[in-house]
């Protein structure tokens, strides 16, 4: 049985300027694998990720024929059940650690908070577990980081702390929304490697949301390509370069390449029928 199954997911917003459909009938299922969701801004990829945790603020509305996680109906679940799922069962890593860590709390306190409140661990036990998590994300001097405030960490370090925090409760599913786009290329590679190793070692499901096709191709097993709130193509990551859909092809072709020609880059011709 699959870990997560989603059928005909829709997210819409009623605004002053009329109704906006951000996600329009997305269906997929996920086992303990790495699934990439790619698309440009406004394609609904982030909304899809948030809808899974029912983290859409009003006036946004979620509707689906089915949204089931490990036998639990996410649409019917009470807010209390959802709270018990968010974190321990399904975790989410956001784009920018600056906005996801509490700026006035030491990293150590933030890491141990959940352990002490939820799992009722003693102070030394929680500390040891947090330290272990920091070592798992390859932070070299975990004791110093435990004592630091978020602003004292670099971007890459902050994102590692975020990943450590999300992985402490050992969730079954990790949703990573552009986890590395705020980072430099060399740091990006390291963070992805860490994330990859942890996901493999613990056998989690991973939904990796990104705008970067090349990154997703390298890092995931399967890729969903979204355009205007719909999935236009689903394919194995290794076949990405042989994508059939003109949108996916266009996205790949319009990237500049080192040593490429100086002529104009091919632009993406959008076809109205893709959004159908």
């Amino acid at each position: 049985m699959s870990l997560l199954s989603v059928k005909n997911l829709r997210v819409s917003f009623d605004t002053e300027t009329g109704r906006v459909d951000a996600v329009r009938g997305v269906s997929f299922s996920l086992g303990r694998e790495r699934l990439g969701i790619v698309g440009e801004s406004g394609s609904g990829k982030t909304m899809t990720g948030r809808a899974l945790l029912r983290l859409i603020r009003p006036p946004g509305q979620i509707a689906a024929d089915e949204m089931r996680f490990d036998g639990i109906d996410l649409l019917q679940a009470s807010e209390k059940t959802m709270r018990s799922l968010r974190g321990p069962r399904i975790s989410m890593v956001m784009q920018d650690p600056k906005y996801s860590l509490n700026p006035v709390m030491r990293v150590g306190a933030q890491l141990t908070e959940g352990l002490r409140l939820r799992d009722r661990l003693s102070k030394p036990a929680a500390y040891a577990k947090a330290l272990e998590a920091l070592i798992a994300v390859q932070i070299r001097d975990p004791e110093r980081v435990m004592q630091a405030y978020p602003h004292e960490l670099s971007g890459g370090m902050g994102q590692r702390v975020m990943i450590a925090m999300m992985l402490i409760p050992n969730p079954d599913l990790l949703i990573a929304d552009e986890p590395t786009s705020a980072l430099d290329v060399t740091v990006q590679a390291e963070v992805l490697k860490i994330l990859d190793d942890l996901v493999r070692a613990r056998g989690m499901g991973l939904i990796f949301i990104s705008h970067d096709l090349r990154l997703v191709a390298r890092f995931c097993d399967r890729v969903l390509v979204m355009y205007k709130g719909k999935i236009v193509e689903e394919l194995a990551a290794k076949d990405l370069l042989q994508a059939k859909h003109p949108y996916t092809q266009g996205l790949l072709n319009c990237l500049p390449r080192i040593g490429g020609p100086r002529s104009m880059l091919p632009s993406l011709e959008r076809d109205a029928s893709w959004a159908g």
Partner: protein, 249 residues
Amino acid sequence: MLIEIENLSVTFTAQGKPLRAVQEVSFAVAAKSAFGLVGESGSGKSTILRAICGLAPISGGSIRIAGETIRHDRAFSRQVQMVFQDPYASLHPRHSIDRTLSEPLAIHGLPLSESRIQQALTDVGLPANFRFRYPHQLSGGQRQRVAIARALMLEPKILLLDEPTSALDASVQAETLNLLSRLRAERGLTFLMVSHDLAVIDHMCDRILVMQHGRSVESLSRQALASGQMTTAYARSLFAASADRMLPP
């Protein structure tokens, strides 16, 4: 050489402690060429652009444009303009496109004509009826086009580009880079461009300076970059991390 930068140092004071953002960097940019600065965040590449504009304190060295040491006066703003990284932050949220584009003309007492604004919009590939829209009614790529149009209103010779496409989607990035290339060819502009993306820099620039921790590491020609002929370890590691941006064999 149109832009000559010699031993430039920029020092900020952060909480009483001096922070040396740029240390003794020198390079020169020929007229009508495009020069790229590459490096990771904190390498000081954007600070150099801000120092040229007078937005960062210069603590040593000199910046000369067309042989003269720069003075930040009105004449300077008709010579050098800048396009910022984040199109969501670089347009005034309460000014319409019309106001944003007519502001530079008003500052310099130039005649404000309808056709001038419409022409500016057409030049950057925006429909003329966008004129009275507000930034929040535009997409990221459209905003960046407005920012480029604004920078070109005063017809400068030099355009400083601070990561102009890093906040944009791939397809929009391609369109924006094409627009910049076209404008450079049409108007004989000189570009000084900052990016962390080697592929973008390679596509746009003739010469490249690799920076790290506020210092220049290595200066490369475009050919040397494409063929991977770096001499320093740091430039090589940057190149290796961009392996997926290479031309497929």
